[in-house]
Structure formats: C-alpha cells, structure tokens
Amino acid sequence: MDLSVLIVNWNTAALLRGCLRSLRGALVPMKSGSAEVIVVDNASADGSADLVRREFPEVRLIANQVNRNYAVGSNQGLAIAQGDLILLLNPDTEVSATALARLRQFLMVPISSGAGGVAPRLVYPTGETQASVRGFPTPTALFGEVTGFGRLFPRSRWGGYRRSPALDRPMPVDQPMASCLLLRRAALAEIGGFDEGLPLFWNDVDLCLRLHAAGWEIWYLPEAVVIHYGGASTRQVRARAIWASHRGLHRLLSKHYRRRMPGPLYAISVAAIYAAGAVRVALAWLRARVPFRSRKLSGRPAAARPLPGEENQW
C-alpha cells in the first residue's frame, strides 16, 4: 500500500467530517486500494465514532473506550497502518488532491531520498499562512520560551524556538507542526513511533528531534497548501493543557539535553519550567472565574474567541 492517513480525534466531529470529506476528494486520483484512512477516536463524547461508522464506512476506525491521549492513539494507528508513506493529519484540516499529490511526489523523487518527512504550508481558512515551522527547542531557546524572554527578544538565542524561517520556498527545517506531516514508514520504523511519555504536547518535536538524530531530514513544501483550523482539541481543556505542556517540556529537556547540561543549570531549568507552568495555570484558572463583564483587558477567554473568518459575519 502506498499511503496511510492517520487521524487521532477527540471531540471534533464537525471538523472531522470536513477533514474526511476533503480526504475522499484528495484520494480520488490514487489507485483503488493504494491508500487507507485510519481514525483513532479517543472516546469522543460528540458522536465522532458514530459519524465515522455512518458516513465514512471506508475508514478504518479504532474507537477507544477511554481517552488514551494523542501519542498512544497515534501509535495505535501506526501499528495497523500498511502504507509506505504515513500522513499524520489533525482532524481540523482540509486536504486537497493537489496538496497531497505534491507532498507524495516530493518524497518519491530520488533527490529527496534523505528526507524522512515533508510538511505542507498550513493556512488559516482565510488563506493566511500559519507560522507552522519552528526551530528546535535548545536549552537556551527553552529558557527563552519558559520565561517569556524568547517573545520579548525574538532575534536573540532565547527566541530560537519560535523563530520561523521565511516560508516561501522548499527547505529542510527543524520541526514543522505535525498537524499535517507526511513521513516515510521506514523512517518512522527506525525511530519507533511516538513517545507515549509525551501524551499531548511536544511529541511532534520529539519525533522530529529523533528523526534528525537518525540522519533524516524534514522538509517544508510551500506549494502544497493545507487548511488548518488549529487547536481544536487542546482549546477544550485549557488549564490542564498548559500543565501537560510544561510536564512534556520537562521530559523533552531531560530526554534530549540533560546529558549536555551542567547539573545545576538543568535543575534551575526544570524549576523554571514548573514555576512558569504554575503561573500560567493560575492565570488560566483566574480568567475562567473572573465575572464575564469585568474582564476588561483579557476580553473573552481564548477558548471562546472565534478563529479568523469564523466570527459572526452576517
């Protein structure tokens, strides 16, 4: 089989429907039987699994009875995937046949033999390009990320993690968002799938770090354009997501950089990660409890703010 598309879903039925419909169109040019779509549903309460069964019987569905998180769900899907290429796809995306063909063609040409994966240009529904490529979070960049110095001084080494290259030409990159990432099965087999110790966040960064360590490049291909709505699942659990993100950051630091860091610096970094996490969780908790009308500065909570193009426009 040429291609397996793997989607891990949690409570995003409407978006999932749009995504799967777009995939139906995108897979039309492929030979019958050369592609499969796998959906791993993490016990969604919005009828996502039933939707897949009812409207997309061709999809291979793994319906978990409990939310086994993104990393475990991805590995469940990878375990049954048969394609030589694996497309990791978020349910809040829309993929066209053109975009999919361009991504596949890129990995098929001999010159790309060193590429373990390729990511498209992600755009908002408005067409605006998303900053979907980041640098690797080195200890210095992680420090900048955790303390906020990275945002204050984006051109310094502290800002390395959020610094995005000009996204106007094909290029090898550190780590693109895994919202839509086409990978070689061979490369994935070499590194062994997702780290289940990173359930929701940073697992894509970890994956890219391990691919690079194994000698694989990851490319960005702007002429392949995919609509990405963004953050649909994680917006549902803001405070918990923040804390999970900081725990993941700790694991990432420990896994990839601890050996290269002096002990005291590592200890300070870990303390900073959790201190910053605690502050952000506290702020999220406060925001959720401050009466609606008195929120002068923050406006509506992030979870309720519509994305560009989705606000009331009638």
Binding site: R17, G18, S22, G25, E94, S96, N312, Q313, W314
Partner: protein, 228 residues
C-alpha cells in the same frame, strides 16, 4: 424628528440630523447562533469537490469564499446553488438558538416613536431573517437580506438601496453594526457609522475601519434621541 444629543449642545452632536437608522441583524439586534466554522468547512469542501485548491478560494468571509470559488469556475451555477443551499441549511439550523440582543426591541420601538425610519440590512437569507425579525418583534420600515440585493455589504449598494426605500438621503442615515464590514459599507455609502461592541469585545475589532462612534449597549443609541 431627528436624533439630537441629550446634552445641551444639540447641534454639534455627531449624529444630529439623523433621520434613518439602518441596523445589521445578526450580532447587532439578534445574538446569532450561526455556525460559521461549519459553514466555512462545508463551503471549502464544496469548492474542493469542484476541483479547486484552498488558495484559489481563500477569503476572510464565507460569502467572499463563495465569490472567489465561483469566479474560478467556468460554469459556477451548480456550485453557487449548492453553496446557497448549504448556507441556508446552516442558517435555518441556527434559528432555535438565536436570542434578542438586550434592548433591541425597545430601541427600535423608541426610534419609530421618535419618527425615525428604521431599516435592517443583513447578509443572512430571507428565510432565516424573517422569522428572527418576527420572533423578536423588531419594528422596521424595510428589510434587505442577501436575497434582495445584487451586492451585499460591505458593498455600499446594499445600504443605499435600504436608505432609498426609507426615503432618506445617505448623509442623514446612520448604519449600526457589529462587524467591520458594516462600518466599511456605511462609510462607503456616505453614512454615519456606529460600531456595536457588546459587553466584551475590544475596540480593536474596528481598527481597520473605525466608525464614528462605538457603543457597548444598544440603549446608548436611544439616549441620543431627543426627548422632545
């Protein structure tokens, strides 16, 4: 009778001399439950079904997406019919969740009592707009939906036709709406404009097209009406 300031300086109030007020519907008079995310997804899917890639129909609003996609198709009639059908279905599905924006009914009643002409201009379809207007008893002289005009706001024609039907010149008409497109349309039509923010949205919503005034509650407009 026209709008005057409630202060002593009647003549220098920015809205002095207003004889007609046009209102946007969804988000201004009615809290709409239209699922615009779903609408975008469905329209994007429909455009993809017609062989278009996302960059070919990208637009900041749904009707813009539909227009952009239609312009790319040699014969857009089927696409347009399906797009309209999709939008209407989502608009109709939102009717049960709609609520009156606080003060809307009272404001329209007091404007009418004060002798001002009132119009409602909306990008919604007539099938959805009519029951909303009836359900919340929104008093008006004219309603123009997207089914009634060749070009919808922010094109000024939408608002100019409404003003003409009310028999009031554009310079004596005020446009009130919650979206920058309402303000853009009003400005392009030569009208005075009021941006409705509601209790929680920041003024930066209208940064691209600043209105003549912003309000957080509809009753602020009632306060501009001269008491005599």
């Amino acid at each position: 009778m026209s709008i005057r300031s409630t202060t002593q300086t009647h003549s220098d109030h920015p809205f002095a001399g207003t004889r007609a007020v046009l209102f946007d519907l969804d988000g201004t008079l009615v809290e709409s439950a239209i699922d615009f995310r779903r609408m975008r997804v469905e329209i994007a899917r429909l455009a993809a079904d017609h062989g278009l890639s996302p960059e070919e129909f990208a637009a900041p609003d749904v009707l813009g997406m539909v227009r952009a996609a239609a312009a790319r198709l040699p014969d857009p009639r089927v696409f347009l019919a399906r797009a309209e059908e999709t939008m209407v279905a989502i608009e109709m599905a939102a009717l049960p969740g709609a609520r009156e924006i606080p003060g809307a009914r009272d404001l329209l009643r007091s404007l009418a009592s004060a002798g001002l002409a009132v119009g409602i201009v909306t990008r919604n379809c007539r099938a959805a707009a009519s029951p909303l207007i009836a359900a919340f008893a929104l008093q008006h002289g004219v309603v123009l939906t997207r089914d009634d005009v060749p070009r919808v706001k922010p094109h000024p024609e939408h608002l100019l036709i409404a003003a003409r039907r009310l028999g009031v010149p554009a310079h004596a008409t005020m446009m009130v709406g919650d979206h920058p497109m309402d303000v853009q349309g009003g400005r392009a039509a030569g009208m005075r404009t009021v941006g409705f923010l509601g209790p929680d949205r920041p003024e930066s919503v209208f940064a691209a097209a600043p209105p003549d005034a912003v309000i957080r509650h509809l009753s602020e407009i009632a306060a501009w009406i001269s008491p005599f």
